[in-house]
């Protein structure tokens, strides 16, 4: 035993020294960037920037390929990268920003751009965008514009909402496919014909059990792919144009909620409790358990992988003919604390991404997002990138009535609070009036806490 413990102790000491030795001698990616930067200072023309992005499975390889090509085209710029799975990337980013260690340029989820912008973590890109980009050539530039007209990011790829429908379910029920003229009431009427309980009964049949549904008419969850489009097309919403005042407690929102709660109560639309019985809330439509869904563009990936026979169309109109499609413009942003040289090099990367047709085409071929450049988005490369959905034009037409998710510095906080009250209303644990009143009060408190302190 004595001998064993001595060996153990010696092993620890040796390993500690070994690893510590390795650590000091092998510079890290971030260290190497700073070391190389020192070198670059002496060479003047060389600059190294660190680029951060959230890794996306198969898309990582393409990202690295595009970075390599950029470096070939820009021999004076070297890019070091850092990536992490989506959730971990943003968790780490907050820590890095606090320690002034964030990448020089990073890919931000569209809903988080304003969080960084309003906290001074990213650079105002207005002058560079005005100077170098033809705004008319791009989708989504304005989705990163604040109330003062300043631009904080350049979209890398766009997610925009549309109505997905399972053609097989429609054919089987003898219901006509959704038309672009549908209102939300038309959708509900069709959804009722497509809903089936465990014993294959429809809502109009006697003995229909709304508590045990095998096929929902519409699946629906959370903000982007749920309540936001309905509220907006009913003329309601969450925040006013200043993005720091709640407008939750309105008659329009009440009407929209009545539409949603009635649909959930009658078993036509998935409620938050129904979603828990699936692998994930996103899996309902790909699993064939719903005839329709509100979905952003990226949902084609799962639907195609599941081999569904489906298509997409425009989201329905509200009672007054108003329509709304939610947009998330995932964007490149530049670190505000990057020095001038690095910031300019980072801008070269952003320009390369936005302006180079080849980059846009190759990224579009992955099928993860609507291309930012209109010429590429309207070309065969995007429109025929996969057999399904056939009507990809619906995503592009939706830009005519698209808007952000009222993103501001405290978006994550107010969405969580609103969801809390919305879910209570959906599950009928509280009345719609109470839910809206409480949500209005508590969302406003979150807004005041941030904006009144500023």
């Amino acid at each position: 035993m004595k001998k064993n413990l001595s060996v153990l102790f010696s092993l620890v000491v040796v390993l500690v020294l070994f690893v510590a030795g390795c650590t000091n001698n092998s510079p890290t990616a971030e260290n190497s960037s700073s070391d190389e930067n020192d070198t670059s200072n002496s060479k003047e023309e060389q600059v190294t920037i660190n680029l951060g992005y959230y890794s996306g499975g198969k898309s990582d390889e393409k990202m690295q390929e595009l970075i390599d090509r950029f470096m070939d085209q820009h021999p004076n710029i070297k890019i070091t990268t850092q990536s992490a799975p989506y959730g971990q990337f943003f968790q780490k980013l907050d820590t890095q920003i606090a320690a002034d260690e964030a990448p020089d340029v990073w890919l931000s989820d569209g809903v988080l751009v304003m969080k960084y912008a309003e906290r001074g973590a990213v650079k105002d890109l207005t002058d560079w965008i005005n100077r170098d980009l033809e705004k008319e050539d791009y989708y989504g530039l304005d989705f990163n514009k604040d109330a003062d007209g300043k631009y904080w990011g350049v979209p890398q790829g766009i997610q925009i909402g549309a109505l997905y429908y399972n053609k097989d379910h429609f054919d089987k029920a003898g219901v006509e496919y959704p038309s672009e003229d549908w209102t939300w009431e038309d959708l509900k009427e069709a959804a009722a014909k497509l809903t089936l309980d465990a014993s294959n009964k429809k809502p109009k049949d006697e003995g229909f059990n709304s508590e045990n549904i095998q096929q929902f008419g519409l699946t629906f969850f959370s903000i982007t792919e749920g309540w936001f489009s309905v509220l907006k097309s009913y003329g309601g919403g969450i925040l006013d144009d200043s993005l720091n005042q709640s407008i939750i407690n309105t008659e329009e929102n009440k009407q929209a909620f009545e539409w949603m709660v009635d649909g959930m109560d009658s078993g036509i639309i998935t409620d938050p409790a129904d979603l828990k019985s699936f692998q994930s809330p996103m899996a309902v439509f790909p699993s064939g358990s719903a005839a329709m869904r509100i979905g952003i563009y990226a949902r084609v990936l799962a639907a195609n992988e599941a081999g569904l026979n489906y298509d997409v169309t425009l989201l329905p109109k509200g009672p007054d003919g108003k329509r709304f499609s939610p947009v998330i413009a995932n964007s490149w942003v530049i670190n505000d604390s990057a020095n001038d040289k690095k910031a300019k090099a980072a801008w070269e990367w952003v320009k390369y991404w936005a302006t180079e047709d080849e980059v846009q085409k190759e990224w579009a071929a992955l099928g993860e997002a609507v291309p930012v450049k209109k010429s590429v988005a309207n070309s065969e490369i995007f429109l025929n990138s996969s057999d399904t959905p056939e009507n990809k034009e619906a995503f592009l037409e939706s830009f005519d009535f698209a808007g952000t998710l009222d993103t501001n510095a405290v978006w994550g906080e107010w969405v969580a609070k609103f969801n809390e009250h919305a879910q209570r209303a959906f599950l009928q644990e509280t009345t719609i009036d109470e839910a809206l009143e409480n949500a209005d009060k508590e969302v406003q408190e979150i807004l005041d806490e941030f904006y009144n302190e500023e």
């Binding site: 092993l11 500690v16 996306g56 799975p85």
Partner: protein, 277 residues
């Protein structure tokens, strides 16, 4: 005869209960195994299809194609082994000091150590990040195991309690034999607290093997990722690749199962202070 039948019945009921309990414990693993062998369509199917129509064995090689799983596994081993060694040595030393040595403010310091158990790791992550940044240790594996070598409160508490339960006679005997305090700790006490050392080692192993927060904060380069981060990176923002993630998670369980098989007897056994006459 009647007695025998009664015994048989009781035994049978016992076996049935044990079998049902075992099935309840094993079912999630069997489900995960089947899920890892499904296509995406079967994975999301409702009602769930328990057994895949065709076993997709190719999901396993695909996992290795999608990520540097060999690297992730080696990294996880480096971090875990160094953490276990660090935790066992440091916790036993500190625990011994709190239990057996006399020094000023001993009790106050011990309360402070216990107090740190109440602090959630997320709260100290930014200060730790800044310290490791100053030490030029970001994007290395060092921050992941170094903290374990600086003693962990739970391990200290456990070791202190264990050392306290050893009779003073040992200490006195070793003193008579000419041992200094370190020799007493190392030669006399350490061999007697093996089960507690094993407990610290197993808890540290499991914690570090499954750790997500610290690696995701400190590591930047893909080739330095540990297994949990590697598994998560198989999924994209939009499309989960869930069947591959399950396959990778099952693969990552193999080392921990092997360790548990070898260490199980230490884990469940109790320390008995035999040897005193």
């Amino acid at each position: 005869m009647k007695k025998k039948r009664k015994f048989f019945t009781a035994k049978t009921i016992g076996y049935i209960i044990i079998t049902i309990s075992a099935l309840i414990m094993v079912m999630p693993f069997i489900t995960a195994l089947f899920n890892s062998l499904k296509t995406y369509a079967e994975f999301t199917a409702v009602p769930p299809k328990w057994i895949p129509s065709v076993f997709q064995w190719s999901n396993y090689p695909e996992v290795f194609k999608l990520g540097n799983f060999i690297d992730y596994t080696i990294n996880s081993f480096i971090v875990t082994i160094l953490s276990v060694l660090g935790a066992v040595i440091s916790c036993s030393m500190v625990g011994y000091a709190f239990a057996r040595l006399t020094f000023p403010f001993k009790n106050m310091l011990f309360v402070m150590v216990l107090g740190t158990m109440m602090i959630p790791p997320i709260v100290v992550i930014i200060p730790h990040f800044m310290i490791f940044q100053q030490m030029n240790l970001l994007d290395t594996l060092t921050p992941l195991w170094l903290l374990e070598c600086l003693a962990q409160p739970f391990g200290i508490f456990l070791m202190r309690q264990t050392f306290l339960s050893i009779p003073k006679d040992y200490e006195e005997s070793s003193k008579l034999d000419g041992c200094n305090p370190f020799q007493t700790y190392w030669r006399i006490f350490m061999p007697m607290v093996k089960p507690s050392l094993a407990t610290v080692a197993i808890f540290t192993f499991m914690t570090k093997w499954n750790e997500i927060l610290a690696p995701s904060i400190y590591l930047t380069s893909n080739e330095k990722f540990t297994l949990p981060i590697g598994i998560l990176s198989l999924g994209g923002q939009w499309f989960g690749n869930e069947q591959y993630m399950v396959a990778a998670a099952l693969l990552s369980l193999i080392p921990i199962l092997i360790v548990f098989m070898f260490a199980e007897r230490y884990f469940v056994s109790n320390f008995t202070n035999s040897g005193i006459k």
